[in-house]
Symmetry: C2
Subunit: 500 residues, 2 copies
């Protein structure tokens, strides 16, 4: 086979596979945001047929040979294709290690597990979910066995899938530091008397909340010609390439802060996607480089920028203008304080910036036991509750507010949670590097975040997935990942707010 | 080849082709209702790849042989597959008659012609469109040549594509009758002094218009679990099978009647789709049997039911409740009169029920000349304007309000327009049959249209495309198509309203 010919042929496959991926994106988007419930059964059939078509291409002898051939001649490829083939080959080789019938069996399990979990959660009855969870755990452990290599064993196989290069050893060190530094800080803050919260227990018109979310799109310079914001039950970001980036938001009449920070969070993901080099759109390297790096961007915008005093100094008047009556007795200082309220709570997705990583630590510890230990599903709620007591000082009253709260495990996503905390830590490391190049506080207080966007674009976004998180961190901060910046950022910020 | 094996194999192809059709539906829906403009270029590439995949299946040797084989053994197939294979074979044989390179050439022309037309329309400059129109006409004439058979020649080839069995001879007779009966009636009405219109020149809150559109969904028993209503520039109905039926509506602050009747019209299309036998969803025979029959349903609901006095006797109070102030001085009788106002106007899509077919006659006459005559594109505006004078008594002031108003010809859709008028006529024929089985006026004045829906479901909707329009008309009305019912309906209704 001639190299050039192989490349062309590979591109043909990629074009078709990407088109089928495009379809998948659009079907999910529609399902999450507007599809009538009655169409979902028919829809799942169509999704099955399309996945099968995709599968037939990806598992065809020709495609497998092409990827292997290109991987064997990787030094002759241009820089971008080199990275892509390396990734594609790795994923393909991994997928080939898992017997087809087990994959099919797993996908059948997955097609029903989320609704079994949801039902157990609604009924606050872990016993309805535990057998399914046991099956999922069994499969995940089997998959780990198939995918183990000389370098990667056990839980590390899964951690690597969500964040290449991250291992248990690295995460252990990371979480040990948080435990040492953040748990005591949280305990100290918990002792303080809380001020009366004047923004809760009021009604905030949802249309006005939407107007403010739209205003935030402009503040963040989100390009509405290449994206949109819609409503869904759980906010998320989706899209295809840099020209079609879609975020959703949710609105509660009594919780104005919820829609504000969800919007900034999702627009943070969206900005990463929109600022990626459009030339990568046709490759597998468009969009974010990893789960944690994506999360670092959404959290950077939401917490580091969006919960800063300077940001609200500029934008609080606009919010007050919309909710003149509701916020009439709330000063900027008070509002800033509410936006950074620290409180140990039971639900991860509602947690504040400081206690958030403690929720992740609980899940990380449990995942280690699940994948590498011999813990039974019956013991898990007890372990969960013990860890919440230890890290957050809370008694978990029931499993709905405890082990049943997250969807992830019902989807077999073990190894995913740690990337959330890692993302926050990446963000803090980027902050200190950014501060060397620009006056961060001043930029936060400007009409829009153009300069901050520009910095992140140049250092991170533009590269898409052509560079690894590690490469990006070294290039932008001069160092490999170091959790000390995260601890420094959290301590500086919260010690000041709470006068510690 | 064994028959059963061939059937299975055919189903495999159909499953894939339908999945690709599903994708197409969803992409168009998204494009029309919310996709950001900046993604359309990338999107058109993806659509191209997916069409190519579809094409490769449909033009594969195996598929062509399968369809031919099944068609040769058609007597051994079950009733539904028999109809489907007959249709599939016909369409396939036709498409094979057209050389591949010409199809590609035409699709390239089509990918740009709509925007060339739109630009000419915006600029009110026919000269910007006429060369493209000439190309489209040339191609259409060439296509006619390829598709001609012993039975079908010239324009009949195109008419048959949009409404099987309809020919120039039949349409000529139909339009001759309209010309004889309706043109004089319109002229007589035009002489009358119009009452002052008290519903125009007011502002109707768009959110309230949406509430009323939602109310109409309930009146029409539209199943919201299997469908939805959204907004778009031009109202349309789309969807996939009977479990996912989507309509759109548009809202103008100063035109309350526009959103009301657009909603009923599109929900009429939607009801046809929702009431089709769900077992047909996986076949090519789901949904309406023809363009005209589909249009007959939307117009039946919009005009025959939705503009009846009895309908508004029941529902006008609800509208008045929403627009208490705006409609305070408008009585039910006045409202009914406005909803049936007859006025010769220049724009087809804004035309009233009575003058509407005259707009179609203009286009039909011109299409005959285009396809079978030697008329040049330069002469078309003059011919257009002459016919508007003749049928509607109007002087056309410019091409934007004249020949440039409709998108159809820019998409090469010659033969489509006549089905609109035919649809109205089908509807009237169905009305007189329905009246034998139920008290039509009483049913229109009920809380919802359940009984009328039920009649149409049993007689028309349930069959999807398993029976031809002709078969459905004979079974439901006891006769083949006869335009006299349409003329009778229009004369009875408008002579009464206008005291003629």
């Amino acid at each position: 086979m001639e190299l050039q010919q192989a490349i062309e042929k590979y591109y043909e496959y990629r074009t078709k596979l990407k088109a089928l991926g495009y379809v998948n994106y659009l079907i999910s988007w529609d399902t999450e945001t507007e599809a009538p419930l009655g169409c979902l059964e028919e829809r799942s059939k169509q999704v099955g047929v399309l996945s099968e078509m995709s599968y037939q291409l990806e598992r065809s002898k020709e495609y497998i040979e092409l990827v292997s051939y290109l991987n064997n001649n990787i030094d002759q490829l241009d820089d971008i294709l080199k990275v892509e083939i390396k990734k594609t080959n790795k994923a393909l080789q991994q997928s080939l290690k898992i017997p087809m019938d087990e994959l099919v069996e797993f996908s059948i399990l997955m097609s029903k597990s989320a609704s079994i979990w949801a039902n157990a959660k609604v009924n606050n009855d872990y016993s309805l979910f535990k057998d399914t969870l046991a099956e999922i755990i069994n499969f995940s452990k089997k998959m780990v066995k198939y995918l183990e290599t000389e370098e990667l064993k056990g839980y590390n196989v899964l951690l690597d899938q969500y964040e290449e290069g991250m291992t248990k050893e690295k995460y252990d060190k990371f979480f040990a530091l948080l435990k040492e530094e953040i748990v005591p800080l949280v305990k100290e803050i918990s002792k303080q008397q809380k001020p009366i919260n004047k923004i809760v227990n009021k009604k905030y018109d949802i249309n006005k909340q939407k107007i403010f979310a739209d205003y935030l799109m402009d503040v963040m310079c989100f390009d509405k010609n290449r994206g949109l914001m819609k409503e869904s039950e759980h906010p998320f970001t989706s899209g295809y390439g840099s020209s079609d980036v879609r975020v959703t938001n949710h609105y509660y009449e009594d919780l104005v802060l919820s829609s504000v920070f969800s919007a900034i969070h999702e627009l943070g993901h969206g900005t990463y996607e929109q600022q990626c080099n459009p030339e990568l759109d046709s490759t597998y390297l468009s969009g974010g480089t990893s789960m944690a790096m994506h999360e670092s961007q959404s959290r950077f915008y939401e917490n580091i920028v969006g919960r800063s005093y300077e940001f609200w100094k500029r934008h609080y008047p606009k919010l007050k203008e919309l909710f003149e009556e509701e916020l009439s007795d709330v000063s900027l200082e008070e509002f800033y304080r509410y936006a950074n309220d620290v409180e140990c709570s039971l639900i991860r997705v509602e947690a504040d910036e400081l206690t958030y990583p403690l929720h992740i630590m609980v899940r990380y510890e449990i995942e280690k036991m699940i994948i590498e230990g011999n813990v039974s599903v019956d013991e898990l709620p007890t372990i969960w509750n013990r860890l919440y007591k230890e890290y957050l000082g809370l008694d978990v009253p029931n499993d709905k507010l405890g082990i049943l709260q997250d969807v992830h495990w019902s989807g077999g996503s073990f190894g995913y949670f740690p990337t959330y905390a890692l993302g926050s830590a990446y963000g803090a490391q980027l902050l200190y590097a950014m501060k060397k190049d620009l006056n961060f506080e001043e930029e936060c207080s400007k009409e829009n975040l153009k300069a901050i966007n520009e910095w992140l674009k140049e250092k991170i976004h533009i590269y898409g997935a052509t560079k690894s998180p590690e490469e990006l961190l070294i290039a932008s901060t001069g160092e490999t990942f170091d959790a000390k910046y995260y601890v420094k950022y959290l301590k500086e910020k919260y010690q000041k707010i709470y006068n510690i």
